[in-house]
Symmetry: C2
Subunit: 420 residues, 2 copies
C-alpha cells in the first residue's frame, strides 16, 4: 500500500527530523544562490561567495569555537563532514596512505558511542576501514559516552596491537540529544599519545552560538575537528553543513589533487582564495551564503536567542511529559531539545511491565503516527533504540515552535492514543 | 592583490565551466524545493519527491540508457557519483571489505585515461585505495582512451599479481570533451573476467538524450555504472547529479547501515520507497525535482533539442577557429561541445615554433583573460594540459548560447589579444 501524504518540513507540526520550520532569511539566501547558479570551487566564478564562505568559516573557528586558527569546508551534510573528520585523522597520522592506500597501514580503531550517528559506520566502510574498525563505547543514563569505557576500549586495542586513530565524540546524539563529555574524552585522547578527537556536533553544535548553553560542549577547544549542520537547529535550510579543523593546513594536504585545468596558478588574484582543492567534491553548491545572510541579519545575539528559544520550548514539553498521565520520559533531564518518551494508553496503565506488555507498548507509537499521517495533523518520529521499544522522539529545531505547540502535541497524542 | 569581479554563470558570456546559463524551469523547481526544505531520505518526509526521484531514475535506466533494470541515487556532484562507481566496483568483487576494510583485500588497480577527471584520484585516496592504485592509460589525438593501451595495462597488473578492479571510461572529458570507445573497452573488461566498467558521463552523458548524438556512447548498454550531471549540459542547476547501475540490488547492499531511528520497518507504507539507505549521505537535498520539471515541460524531444543546440553552436565556433587567422585548434574535430584552441597574436605568427616561442604563447591566454575579467566582458577557461601550454577551452553548456555569441568570442579575443 502506498499512502500519498504531503508532508514537508514547512508544516507547523513537522517534528519528524532534526530540522524543520522555514527561516525566511535563509530562504532568501537560498533563492539567490539558486538563481546565480555557480560553484564554490574558485574565486573567479564565485567571488563574493568565496569571501563570505572564508569569512564565516574563520568566524566559526576563532569566535564560535575559539580555536586560535584553523580551516574548514562546507560540504553536503553532516555525514560528509564526519567523513572529512575521519579523513583528517587518517592523514594526520598516516599521510603516506594518500598515495599508498590503507593496505600498508596498521589496523586502526575508531571509537564512538553506541548511540552515535550511523554515518561513522558508513564512513568506515566507504573509506576503506571496514565496519570492524569501529569500536562502540557504552553510554550512561543520559546517553553520554562513558569516559572510563572509552579508556578501557583504547587499552584493549593497544593490547591487541591496534592503533587508536580517532575518537568520534557526539555533541547532541540523534535520538537522545546527549552531549558526550568532551573534556574528559580529550584527556584520554591526550593520554594515549594524541588520538584524533573529532566532534560530531551536526545536531547539537548549535549551542556554541549561545553563551548560556555552550558549556554543554566544554572542552571543544581541545578537539581536532568538528562537524556542524547549520541546516538543523540554526535553520539554514538543507543543505548547509561544514567541517572545521584547528590544523590549518591539513584539509588541503589531505585532499588536494592540484587539477591544472581548474586551479591554475597564474591567475590575476591570490589563488589561496580558490577553496575547491580542500574538498573531495569538484562542483560545490554555495551553501555558506544562507547562513551568512542569517548571521548578518540576526547578529550574534539573535542567533543565540534562536537556539535558546528551541531549548526553552523543549523544556516545556519535558515538563508536560513529567506531569501528564500516561507520558513517561526515557531521559528525565534531556540535554538537548530532544524529548524522548512513551505514551502509555489508559488500557495499558498500572499493569505488570513484562515482555508482553512492552510488546503492546511498542505498537502504540506506530498506531498513533498512522493517525497523524492519515489526518495530516502532525509528523513526529518514533523508533526503537537498543533495549527500548518504540518511543517518541520529539525535537524542537525551530524558534517558530511555541509552548502552545507543545501542549497541542500532548493533546493530539492523547486524542489519537487514549482508546488504544 | 584581490580583484573583486562579479562573475556568475548567469552572465551571457560565462563559459568558464562545464555549466552555464539559467534554465527558468529548473530554477522554478529549485525555488520550490528550497521553500519546502525537506530531505530525500524517506518517503514520509518527501512523499511526492520520492516518487519523482524514483520515476526519473528508472526512466534514465530503462529509456535513456536502455538497461533492462537497475538502481540509482542522486548525489552532490559528479565526483561523489564517481566515488559510488568505485564503491560499487569494490563491493561487487570484495563484499567482505564492507566489514573488514581494505587491509584484507589484494592489491587492485583502477584504470582511467590520462585525460580523465581528477575526481577518480580523489576517490582513490579518500576511499582507502591510494593514488598508487590508479593506472593512467594513454589517449589518441582526440583525447580518447586507447583500448590497446588499456589491455596492456591490465596485462601488466595481472603479471604483477594485481587485480584489475575497475575501468573508468569517460564520456566527455573535462578539457577536450573526448568520448572513450565504450564498446572496445567493454570487450576488454569482459575478456579479463568482468572488470567493472564505470562510465564518467558527468559532462558528456547528456548525449544519451539525443537519438542523433547518442552513438558517441555506443556500448553504454554494457557498462556497469554511469555518472551523469544534469546540472551541466542539461542545465538543471548545480547540484543535480546521479549515479546509476544496472545491478539492481548493489547500491543498497554496498551502502546500507539500517539505521533504526530513520528507516523503521513498521511504517504504514511500502518502505522500499525510502531511498536513503542506498546513499552514504543522511540528509539529502531534493535534487531530482528540477530535472523532473524540465523533462516534463520539454519532453524527450525538447531535452534532445537542447543538447543538440549546444553541439551545433560549438560546431560554428570550431569552424570559426579553422578559418580565422591566429586561431589554432588542438583537436581538429572536437567530439563534444569543448572547442580547445590557441590564439596566436600577430606578433607571434610565422615564427619558428621553438620552446621560447611556446613560452610566449603560454602567456597569451592569461593576459587576454585578465582583460576579460577586469572589463567584465566574458569569462572563458584556459589551462595547460600534458605537453600543451595554456590554451582556451571554450564550452557550450546552454542552448541559450547562439552562433552570434561564438562570433563575439572570436572578436573579443582578437580585440584583447591582437596587440600582445
Amino acid at each position: 500500500m502506498l499512502v500519498i501524504i504531503g508532508y514537508f518540513s514547512g508544516h507547523p507540526y513537522f517534528f519528524n527530523q532534526l530540522f524543520g520550520g522555514l527561516d525566511k532569511l535563509a530562504l532568501s539566501g537560498a533563492i539567490l544562490t539558486e538563481a546565480l547558479n555557480t560553484s564554490a570551487y574558485t574565486y573567479e566564478v564565485s567571488p563574493v561567495f568565496s569571501l563570505m564562505e572564508r569569512q564565516i568559516i574563520q568566524k566559526i573557528i576563532t569566535e564560535t569555537i575559539g580555536w586560535p586558527q584553523g580551516d574548514g569546508v562546507f560540504c553536503p551534510g553532516g555525514s560528509a563532514a564526519n567523513m572529512y573528520g575521519v579523513s583528517l585523522a587518517r592523514h594526520s597520522k598516516f599521510p603516506e596512505s594518500k598515495v599508498k592506500g590503507m593496505r600498508g597501514m596498521p589496523l586502526v580503531h575508531l571509537y564512538t558511542s553506541r548511540l552515535s550517528h550511523y554515518s561513522l559506520k558508513k564512513a568506515a566502510f566507504f573509506m576503506g576501514f571496514g565496519i570492524d574498525s569501529i569500536v562502540t563505547v557504552g553510554t550512561d543514563r543520559f546517553g553520554r559516552m562513558i569516559p572510563a569505557a572509552l579508556e578501557k576500549a583504547i587499552e584493549h586495542s593497544l593490547a591487541n596491537g591496534i592503533v587508536p586513530l580517532m575518537v568520534n565524540a557526539t555533541s547532541g546524539t540523534t535520538v537522545f540529544g546527549a552531549y558526550d563529555p568532551l573534556d574528559e574524552i580529550a584527556d584520554i585522547c591526550k593520554k594515549y599519545g594524541g588520538v584524533w578527537l573529532h566532534v560530531d556536533g551536526a545536531w547539537g553544535g548549535a549551542v556554541l552560538l549561545s553563551k548560556k548553553l555552550r558549556n554543554k560542549m566544554k572542552g571543544i577547544d581541545r578537539a581536532d575537528s568538528l562537524t556542524w549542520d547549520p541546516h538543523k537547529m540554526a535553520g539554514s535550510i538543507l543543505q548547509c553543513a561544514l567541517v572545521v579543523t584547528k590544523h590549518a593546513t591539513l584539509l588541503k594536504e589531505a585532499h588536494s589533487a592540484k587539477a591544472r585545468y581548474l586551479f591554475q596558478q597564474d591567475k590575476i588574484y591570490d589563488v589561496t582564495y580558490d577553496s575547491g582543492d580542500k574538498s573531495v567534491q569538484c562542483g560545490r553548491k554555495i551553501d555558506a551564503f544562507k547562513l551568512w545572510v542569517q548571521w548578518k541579519a540576526y547578529g550574534n545575539v539573535g542567533m543565540a536567542q534562536r537556539v535558546e528559544s528551541c531549548f526553552e520550548t523543549a523544556l516545556h514539553l519535558r515538563d508536560r511529559c513529567r506531569t501528564t498521565p500516561g507520558f513517561r520520559l526515557l531521559v528525565e533531564d534531556p540535554e538537548c531539545t530532544n524529548v524522548c518518551f512513551w505514551y502509555i494508553p489508559p488500557s495499558l496503565r498500572e499493569q505488570t511491565e513484562d515482555e508482553d506488555w512492552w510488546t503492546k507498548v511498542s505498537r502504540v507509537a506506530p498506531a498513533i503516527k498512522a493517525k497523524m499521517q492519515t489526518t495530516g495533523a502532525m509528523l513526529i518520529g518514533y523508533q526503537p533504540q537498543e533495549e527500548f521499544v518504540n518511543f517518541w522522539r520529539m525535537v524542537v529545531a525551530s524558534p517558530e515552535n511555541t509552548i502552545q505547540d507543545m501542549d497541542h502535541i500532548i493533546d493530539t497524542i492523547i486524542e489519537f492514543g487514549e482508546k488504544l
